[in-house]
Symmetry: C2
Subunit: 205 residues, 2 copies
DNA sequence: CATGTAGGTACAGTGGGTGAAGTTAATACC
DNA sequence: GGTATTAACTTCACCCACTGTACCTACATG
């Protein structure tokens, strides 16, 4: 077992080997979570399926739940990048809207399977609230950057960020369960909430 | 240690003794979390401080984090009761609004300390997303009850519930950190979002 | 080819959480 | 009042997520 997966000796760089191990761990983790349930799957089993030791699992993912979202960090980073790539003087909420729309448009069917898993396994939903909170922090930071770092702006930015992510989570989850178009549902619900009254939130109080 | 806290033999009913143990566990848990931090406090220490065994802790709270919110279940139940106590034909969103307003009005300063702890200890925030999800479920169920059990209503109800709780969480957390009036901030942000466009959400699409 | 180092392993430990069997004392019932 | 029941708690043994540490080994690179 120790050398089985290293037998396919290619001119792979070490980094590629590492990525392959990580990919394999995530793949088997998601498969096992789906097949037998989250609680019924141990990290030991995931690691064994991927042909590595249990300790190695935690060199790639900080928690058992994190293996279900292997590209989370990259996606958050990508989201932040797009958020800040807007034209300099565009309304921050408009920029936020178009970035979120683009993100929801790009959701592949294969990812919807992930959201279905998320919706159906409460352990995963509970344990990986961290996932959402990263987006909330990113959105709040973006808004504060544009609105100024006052207490009032901070409260408002956090409130909006939490509400946005809450709606997105609910509709993506529904997308996973019912196969409905998450983008359309989210867009409709979301932007009716965050319409005109919030275009200039700090001066219309 | 085994009989120390049973020495004060009163004509207490067993139930009162049980409640006293629970209260003591929660009190020491919150104190220890505040004093030395969440991760630096073990369940064993909490139990020892309350004069009971570690196993007993889990007869009262299902997780370590749950001890920080000892009255959570009662509060959710109370919330649901008030929600459904409205006049029969009142607009569900109006009822929701007044119930939430009342809840936020009733937040005592001592509870704000709790929210401060919540805001400052990410482990607690992450680990007890369950707290929020109970409210989300309650609100969504209430809206579905009034709107009908269609997929569309369900998606919409969940989205609104998540957004509401997101805003409430953000502002309560700000209330804990900055001591600002959570009710005022939440009310202002929240009800501008959920204003007129949502008064008749199922027929104005 | 020598050497540093990245990726992995083995091992031992901590701590949250559970199941099961036993103890004690309050209570219910006669 | 005496006996049976049972609720609250304890002890013990266990599982599993997660961590620290020391070690190994093969790739990389000068």
């Amino acid at each position: 077992m120790t050398t089985s997966k290293k037998a396919d000796r290619q001119p792979n760089s070490r980094e590629q080997q590492r990525l392959e191990t990580r990919r394999s761990l995530a793949e088997h983790a998601i498969r096992l979570f789906s097949e037998r349930g989250y609680d019924e799957t141990t990290v030991e089993e995931i690691a064994a399926a991927a042909g590595v030791s249990a300790r190695t699992f935690f060199l790639h993912f900080s928690t058992k739940a994190a293996a279900a979202f292997p590209d989370h960090d990259a996606r958050v980073h990508d989201f932040v990048t797009r958020l800040n790539a807007g034209a300099p003087h565009v309304n921050p909420l408009s920029q936020l809207r178009s970035t979120l729309d683009a993100r929801l448009d790009g959701e592949s069917p294969s990812r919807l399977v992930r959201y279905r898993l998320l919706a159906e396994v409460p352990e995963l939903r509970n344990e990986d609230a961290r996932t959402d909170r990263d987006y909330e922090k990113a959105i709040a930071a973006y808004l504060i950057l544009h609105w100024g770092d006052t207490i009032e702006a901070e409260v408002r930015a956090n409130a909006i960020a939490n509400a946005l992510i809450g709606v997105a989570r609910a509709t993506l989850s529904a997308g996973g369960i019912y196969g409905i178009d998450a983008r359309a549902a989210t867009a409709e619900i979301l932007w009716r909430m965050f319409g005109s009254p919030f275009d200039d939130p700090l001066h219309s109080v």
